[in-house]
Subunit: 692 residues, 2 copies
């Protein structure tokens, strides 16, 4: 492992991929300049955008403060129990995860008004501005993740040696994941509390349209789009990316006989895909056509470029193949494992699109069920969500079988990394969603013409599907990444036990009652975690409802348009409520793992069961929730297009109910499962030497 | 195993418990006479009750026909692949499961009008008549199960020897379980399609009250209570009882060194509890007080008597203890294992009661959330359902740990059997529910006085809670029983492989990718099974909605009360729809298991993963669904008592939505999981010699 030649490969491969990462970051910087140079619209538009910016900034600042307290506590514990390198890795991971979300959101809130302005000219132009804003986040996430993991590994390797460097990477993973749980939950609670609160009083009680400036919660609602969908998602995917990269390195070290190239390979895959993402981004800026097809074309182009470049890279790194789990694997085997990840990305995108786009049967079925009332709409949506789990899980199973057959556990890790390498372009699509959503809001609030709103509405519908698709991608990749972490847990446990001179005789067999107990505890976690998350949204939304009612009662002039509502108090209330309510669910997975480890009747074997079933059940719950939510949302939009009576019909009222139920499902509870299933696995790895 | 002394123990122990079973059946017969001798009310009441009887009989007859076709196919396959004893066991299990449901339902439909009549005199009197009717089903289920398994085992033992006798018992288990899936699904779809259909048009569109005779679907609705809650539940618990008994025998043979007493013990526990149940039933007929406390007192009394009698019986059977998994277990150890089952029954009853009774916080929280609309009611209900999984699953985990520590896998089997031995009294409570529900319907349709309706309403509310509590009991015991079956699967597989002279080197370790694939497939099953079940209700309910609308439009006299609606066509439509729609979901688990076994890339190890996670996930999904459903139902009742605006308020409308969503949750999809998780495990055991 420390042969000079091997070391050279390691150095040059990692260096090359870091150069790609820097190119990505430079491109992101250029894109920011391009966005800032497009016109920001009239004064009213800039004013509204300013209010949203201010609210978002204020929220994120306070979120950083809140999380910092917890991060400092964990940092100290890590220094004490796991040493400085791991603790500093934790800090770096936490910082980068926060930064990815923060910068991405800052760009999104300056882009929104520029998209509205562009929409006054042409839809294609608006699409390009919005996508450019989103692409900043996309490139930022992958560039930052590659750079952070690569440089930290480089320095740690030089300072504490290769073995401890790898183990301190787990600290970085924890930092990224834990922050991401908070960001997902805090942002998710914020956005949905504001949304539900604004809808319940504004739309239903006062009969206002979406984004009506007379609604006191409307600015909070627009802020929510940014802190939830934008900052939350960026932190989440940053985390999945970093964790997949670290997981692949870990598995490479633990299971591959000839380690150096195995460590470099995931970096190289990531670096290549940065180039692929940049090509995809260029494609959007030059191609014409329907927004949805242009965006999908960009994904296809990125994947194609990556697939082509992976081939020579793999052969270069493993000219003679490599021995994994006692068997020689050819470079082509490894290449196939990486292809599995690319194909999975496409498969998940297509499946999620089918279940959540209004062009297909599932969404239309919910719309039809709305005709017979609220209850049948809900039943249909819940059933669709459950149906939607079948195909992704089936394909995940096939992906596991295939990539394992190509290169054992390392093959799975490579497939995951290659799937995640697509994050650059996929996140660009996702960040596009909240930007267009906000752009539409600004158009309404600034009383721009109907054709502007029509243009932003078209982009908004595309953005909705893109958001749903990214969620499918995020959860599928999170599930696979977590499985790699579980593999690392077992290997680490084995290494730890045998290093103490004891035989490793833990049995993770399903015939062990302890494993069964673990399965029950693990199965519980996603259920209880999402239950707490939904409660949190309910409580925070209740606070918004009360404030909006108070304002409308105390100032009757607001509804008549004679008086300005106090947007700030709503923003303030949601901010405080979101930060307060995120704590319990975010710390729940930590508490579960530590409790299982500490209670002597449970211990490492039970914990193994917990980890695996948290992943399995989490995957099902997350897919069902995000699919139901996306489908409900678009079923409402399908009715609003004039089907089954259109806006104002009883079917529409029922569809609004479904949409509201879907809000915390798809934007709070469901997506927060992604980082949660990784936190439990990372914490389990970290506490091995402490408790076992 | 064939020592004369051992054989004596076997004979006399089983004989004694069969005598208890016969006593139970005789008591059931006496109770039928008591019910028939109470007055059946006036002609109008008898007429309505007659219509319900006719509809229920017609449905069950056709259900028997439909299921028979499938049963004959399976019978032939079993003869061919597993030999005649197993095939005949299958027939007997299927027949008894059907019979338990059929007779129980027949008694329920003659009791309902007698309860209404008794309610014209006194509430206590109505309680006793209703409970007596329910107790018939309770005693029938346990008596029949003990008798069927005992006599079949006796004859099979004499004809084909002890080893093949045990394995042919698995056929009996399959017969009982498969029929039970059909009965649960068919009955569940029937009852909820009729209920939802009657509510959607009758209550919401035409503004009719519950059970208004002008609603064309009202008779179908009342029939549904009987075929779903009564016949379905009876078949289900018969099945769980028989399967637990057979599972305990299987585990006894496979894991206990000194087998005969281990085979007898589960029979003895069952026999003793028949006596306990009879005492409980007598208690209800003599005690006074609030209905809920009287019924709970009866459960407590039964459990106490069983707990006392288990002590000498255990010491008599195992005077010197017994060796299990290489360790000598004292009679006290075994006694403690049986106590675990009794305590679990109490624990589950208390927990389910907390989550679904309107006296506690969860239901009141849903009621409060209804104030802000349909969506918040739904979100609150879904969250409560997920919260409600935590405690039962936690206690199931503790029960597994404890009973395993007392006597290994056999200890778990004994705990399950002892939990199931309480079925006699528990089912009496459950069957009480649909009887009082129908009694209320008859009171309304016969225009009896308000005080009669008030009396039946009070009993109906108690019945609702009892139904919810029994569901908690049924699913918890089903989960434990299924775990015992999974243990048998592994042991059978081992026995089969080694009997062919090959070494048994299957690893069910969580580190095997095949096991992980199994976990994903297994996790999918409950999600997809319930999704199909809910779709089925949706489709069948749609058919009812169309028919009711057609009648009300074609015959405007119906709503004015001048014309009688055609109840028969609605009954006919639901009957056909329920039977058509139950087929796909009922055959789904069979298809899953056989596919996994047949596909060469999957096989026995993947199947092991499938079995375990189907149980784990199934348990969560079932508990969440039945708890949400029960809580929504009682939240509506809580509002109807005058809280949050009472009947007719917006909160009430929202609560009706929740109740309707909860209908297929709690009465179709959720409870059908109980037999489903056992079918997959039994089928897996049966196909071992065919495919592996």
């Amino acid at each position: 492992m420390t042969l000079p030649l091997a070391f050279d490969i390691l150095q040059s491969g990692v260096r090359l991929s870091l150069i790609c990462a820097v190119i990505g970051l430079v491109c992101a910087f250029l894109l920011i300049i391009i966005v800032l140079r497009s016109p920001a619209g009239n004064e009213r538009m800039r004013q509204i955008s300013g209010a949203v910016q201010e609210g978002a900034k204020a929220y994120l600042n306070r979120q950083v403060m809140t999380i910092s307290v917890i991060a400092v506590v964990i940092f100290i514990l890590l220094i004490f129990f796991r040493g400085a390198p791991t603790a500093f890795g934790f800090l770096l991971g936490a910082f980068c995860s926060l930064a990815a979300g923060y910068i991405g959101m800052r760009v999104a809130v300056v882009t929104n008004t520029r998209v509205t302005q562009a929409a006054t000219q042409a839809c294609t132009r608006a699409l390009r501005v919005a996508f450019t804003g989103g692409a900043v986040t996309g490139l930022l996430v992958v560039g930052l993740a590659l750079l952070a993991v690569g440089t930290f590994y480089h320095f740690a390797r030089n300072m504490v040696g290769p073995d401890r460097a790898v183990s301190s990477l787990v600290g970085l993973a924890l930092g990224a994941s834990l922050i991401s749980v908070f960001a997902r939950l805090g942002g998710g609670i914020y956005t949905k509390a504001a949304d539900v609160g604004a809808d319940l009083v504004g739309k239903i009680e006062a009969g206002l349209e979406e984004d009506d400036p007379r609604n006191p919660a409307t600015i909070a609602d627009n802020v929510g789009d940014n802190v939830g969908d934008c900052a939350g998602m960026a932190a989440d995917v940053f985390e999945t990316y970093a964790v997949s990269l670290i997981g692949a390195i870990l598995v490479g070290v633990l299971t591959v006989a000839n380690a150096p190239a195995a460590i470099v390979y995931p970096f190289v895959l990531g670096g290549i895909s940065v180039l692929g993402a940049i090509c995809g981004i260029l494609f959007v800026n030059f191609a014409g056509g329907k927004p949805a097809s242009v965006l999908m074309g960009a994904v296809g182009m990125s994947a194609l470029i990556s697939a082509i470049l992976f081939w020579p890279a793999t052969h270069q790194l493993f000219p003679n193949g490599v021995e994994i789990a006692g068997k020689l694997r050819s470079p082509t085997d490894l290449y196939y494992a990486s292809l599995v990840g690319l194909v999975m990305t496409g498969v998940v995108v297509v499946i999620t699109n089918y279940y959540t786009s209004m062009r297909y049967r599932p969404v239309q079925k919910i719309a039809r069920a709305s005709e017979t009332g609220h209850a049948t709409n809900i039943i249909a949506g819940l059933a669709i969500g459950q149906h939607a789990t079948a195909l992704p899980v089936g394909f995940i199973g096939i992906a596991i079988l295939l990539s394992y057959s190509f290169a054992g556990l390392y093959g799975i890790a490579i497939a995951v990394m290659s799937m995640l390498s697509m994050a650059g372009i996929i996140i660009s699509l996702d960040a596009f969603g909240p930007i267009t959503d906000n752009a539409g809001g600004i158009a309404v609030m600034s009383n721009l013409g109907k054709e502007v709103r029509a243009a932003t509405d078209e982009l908004d519908a595309v953005g909705n599907t893109m958001k749903a698709v990214t969620k499918g991608y995020a959860i599928a990749s999170a599930g696979l990444a977590a499985l790699v972490l579980f593999g690392s847990y077992v290997e680490e446990l084995k290494a730890h036990i045998t290093s103490n001179g004891q035989p490793f005789n833990f049995q993770f067999s399903l015939t062990e009652p302890k494993v069964i107990i673990g399965l029950f505890i693990g199965g519980l976690l996603p259920f209880i975690f999402t239950a707490f998350s939904m409660d949190a949204v309910g409580k925070a939304a209740g606070a918004v409802v009360r404030e909006v009612r108070r304002q409308l009662q105390a100032h009757p002039g607001i509804l008549k348009g004679e008086e300005m509502p106090e947007y700030g108090t709503c923003v303030d209330i949601v901010t405080r409520a979101a930060l307060r309510e995120m704590i319990v669910p975010a710390l729940l997975p930590l508490a579960f793992v530590i409790l299982v480890a500490v209670i002597p009747q449970l211990g490492p074997v039970v914990l193994g069961g917990v980890l695996v079933v948290t992943i399995v059940t989490g995957l099902f719950v997350a897919i069902a929730m995000t699919s139901s939510g996306g489908a409900w949302d678009n079923a409402k939009k399908f009715i609003e297009e004039g089907n089954y009576g259109g806006k104002g019909s009883p079917a529409h009222a029922a569809a609004v109910t479904g949409d509201t139920v879907g809000d915390p499902y798809k934007d709070t509870a469901g997506p927060a499962i992604n980082p949660m299933i990784k936190v439990v696995n990372i914490v389990a790895i970290l506490i091995i030497p402490i408790f076992f």
